[in-house]
Amino acid sequence: MDINNASRKEFLATLVTGGLVLAGCSSKKSPFEAGADEMVKASGEKVKLLSVDGEVIEVDKAFLKPVPQLPAITNSEERRGIPGKKFVMVIDLSRCKNLRKCQAACNHMHHVHSDLNWLKVYPMNEGEHTAPYWQPTTCMHCDEPPCVKVCPVDATFKRQDGIVLIDSDRCIGCRFCMAACPYSIRVFNWEKPDTVSEELCGQPYSCETSVPQKKGTVGKCDFCPDMARKNELPHCVSACPNGTFFYGDLNEDSVTNGAETFRFSDLIKDKAGYQLMDDLGTKPSVYYLPPAARNFPFEKGMEIDKG
């Protein structure tokens, strides 16, 4: 109504100046920047669109929601990471029935060699009289990453947002990181990945998408920072029909599986979350919720499991 009419000019001014005042509500951020905020840089490419009220507005392409495509970021930006973020994952073991949708989505989106899996689902059983459970494992993105410690050429590195990535353009293929990783999550491209087409092969490698994988280099779960930049969830998280994976920012104290969002500290406290092999001092960024009050019996997953 009147609020809207009054705000029209102001709104347009906001877009032009890049200022952050929004009429109707006192939000300090432009609607198109909110959400993307510090993770996305303006591309400089503007598009003319229509508002709900039928106004013509000009928006930077990078701030559109959902983000059509991100402007390319440099290798040194990829190595520094997103400031102010600390990505974490929570995996609820009580929800996993070894469907491996996560694995399929991850392999597909990263064009992982068909013999390899970045994400593995283990049938775990600690002792003779303990109950078995399915344990999906991604890269733990350790805060004291043993793999990064041993890399001779900075090809694998730790970023300020907690993510450990691989620069396949620099990796020399010594495989020391694979020996150093106690979680055995790193895989090696023993040959040119059969899933990488000639067209994809020609594309420049990006540390954040980990695509395209290259012969003779190491690959692993990258926590999908390219998706996080778009305020979207990693492929494994969105692929799981049971909502096993929760992803979020520790600095926001929140994790989500897309459908449900929890306060991270509450979730860890209420469900007694733990880290895998934390006794090794690796300080993982992935937390597990014990397989108590399960949604599925363990045997359900046996049909899919081929070893």
Partner: protein
């Protein structure tokens, strides 16, 4: 004082019945005789066959590597769990064997032992050639060998691989110097021979400036002394750092504070075994019976027993202590070694590479050339498989179970390409030693002459 002791020993040895089978006693040799005995010789028929075999093995290795470059490491049977294979165990083996240069030359020299003088050059060339092939084999193991320069562009000081690259380069140069400087006086002798060989120009380039003046001898002696001291910590470093490539990880079987000394003691053992084998071969085919004597074998035998006992001590530490606790992650690994799939290899390496040599060498007759030769081979072969057992079983026993991989990823047996490349590198190392012995005197002539003069003088 030390000289007189060594002479007494020589005399004792000379009087020993085994030594008196018609051969001239060393103290009856003239300078001319010594020089003509020790000059490098052309290959005989046997030598040519030997060279031919080595070259063929090398060529097969080169072909296999060509395939690996073309198709990637997929031609090996290494996969994500066994991500390191016989390339790495071969690398460890080469580094181990190269340590012998420092043992025979430096440690024995610094402790005032003189009987080892004729063996120094054999030990040094083994060291140089082994460390060269250690460097080559590590490049072969790389998935992206063409990016080797990244180590210099982006080298991270925190990575044990950078430490390894640094110390191996350093050790290579020190070993080269330790090979070169004592070679200088021999150059003069080589240049003075009547018939000019095809290597005359090489000799002149390398050592025409050596006139044998008093001052030159003094400087070279000083240089050799410095080298002998410097090479010991560097040698310890190369193998300790190599052991850290494993010990800096968390894996069962590698996560050990014992690894440095365990590797070094093992390296000394395999090195002395290799020198023994080389001693026997050179003695036999270069007819050096007067220079590499029964006494040398006897003493090398005693040194080898000591080193084998030392290595056994560290083995006991390395296996008994974890086996006593049987921590869960170590259990599968230890079981596979003691009673599981690796047990035959493990016990063969322990028995053949350590226990049987100790028993044989404890007897005086066991320290004769031929039994020593056999024992030396057992030690070297045992050591090679021991390195395999250090690398592979650990990798096949990760913390999390092996899962979600093709069946072939769960086992490891080297492919023919891996065998060809590994054997090719071993043949290459032997080739370097053989060619060296063709060009240069394998027993230091000048030093033998000096010792001879000293003996006569003492008489």
């Amino acid at each position: 004082m030390e000289n007189s002791i060594s002479i007494n020993n020589d005399k004792k040895a000379a009087n020993a019945p085994t030594f008196a089978n018609g051969r001239r006693k060393p103290d009856a040799l003239t300078d001319e005789q010594i020089i003509s005995d020790l000059l490098p010789r052309k290959f005989g028929k046997l030598g040519m066959i030997w060279m031919g075999i080595l070259v063929v093995i090398c060529m097969v290795g080169v072909f296999a590597y060509f395939r690996q470059l073309k198709y990637g490491l997929v031609v090996t049977n290494m996969r994500d769990y066994a991500s390191w294979g016989i390339y790495i165990s071969n690398f460890v083996f080469f580094v181990a064997i190269s340590l012998v240069g420092s043992l025979i030359t430096a440690v024995l020299r610094l402790t005032g032992v003189h009987w080892s003088t004729p063996l120094t050059r054999i030990a040094e060339i083994i060291a140089v050639s082994a460390i060269t092939f250690a460097a080559i084999i590590i490049i072969v193991d790389m998935g992206r060998p063409e990016r080797f320069y990244n180590l210099f562009l982006f080298g991270r000081l925190q990575s044990p691989i950078i430490w390894d690259v640094t110390v191996i380069t350093t050790y290579f140069f020190i070993s080269l110097l330790l090979l070169y400087i004592p070679l200088l006086p021999d150059m003069k002798i080589l240049l003075a021979t009547k018939e000019k060989t095809k290597f005359y120009k090489l000799y002149r380039f390398m050592g025409s400036f050596w006139k044998g003046t008093h001052l030159q001898f003094r400087i070279s002696k000083k240089a050799i002394n410095i080298l002998c001291i410097a090479i010991v910590p560097v040698a310890f470093s190369i193998h300790t750092v190599t052991s850290w490539l494993f010990a800096t990880t968390y894996r069962p079987g590698w996560d050990s504070t014992n690894f440095g000394p365990y590797f070094i003691s093992g390296a000394f053992l395999v090195g002395s075994g290799a020198v023994t084998v080389a001693m026997y071969v050179f003695r036999k085919y270069y007819n050096l019976k007067n220079y590499i004597t029964y006494e040398h074998f006897d003493k090398m035998g005693k040194v080898t027993v000591m080193l084998a006992l030392l290595y056994m001590y560290f083995n006991v530490n390395e296996f008994l202590v974890p086996a006593f606790k049987m921590k869960k992650p170590e259990e599968g690994f230890l079981d596979s070694l003691f009673i599981g799939s690796f047990a035959p290899l493990f016990w063969s390496a322990i028995l053949g590479g350590m226990i049987i040599p100790i028993i044989v060498l404890l007897f005086k007759k066991g320290r004769h050339p031929f039994p020593m030769f056999i024992v030396g081979i057992m030690i070297v072969v045992g050591a090679w498989f021991k390195r395999y057992l250090i690398v592979t079983p650990t990798l096949l026993h990760p913390f999390l179970p092996m899962h979600n991989v093709p069946e072939s990823y769960k086992h490891y047996f080297p492919s023919w390409e891996e065998w060809a490349i590994a054997m090719g590198s071993l043949a290459g190392a032997l080739l370097v030693i053989t060619i060296f012995a063709r060009i240069f005197p394998i027993i230091p002539i000048q030093e033998t002459l000096i010792e001879q003069h000293e003996k006569e003088h003492h008489k």
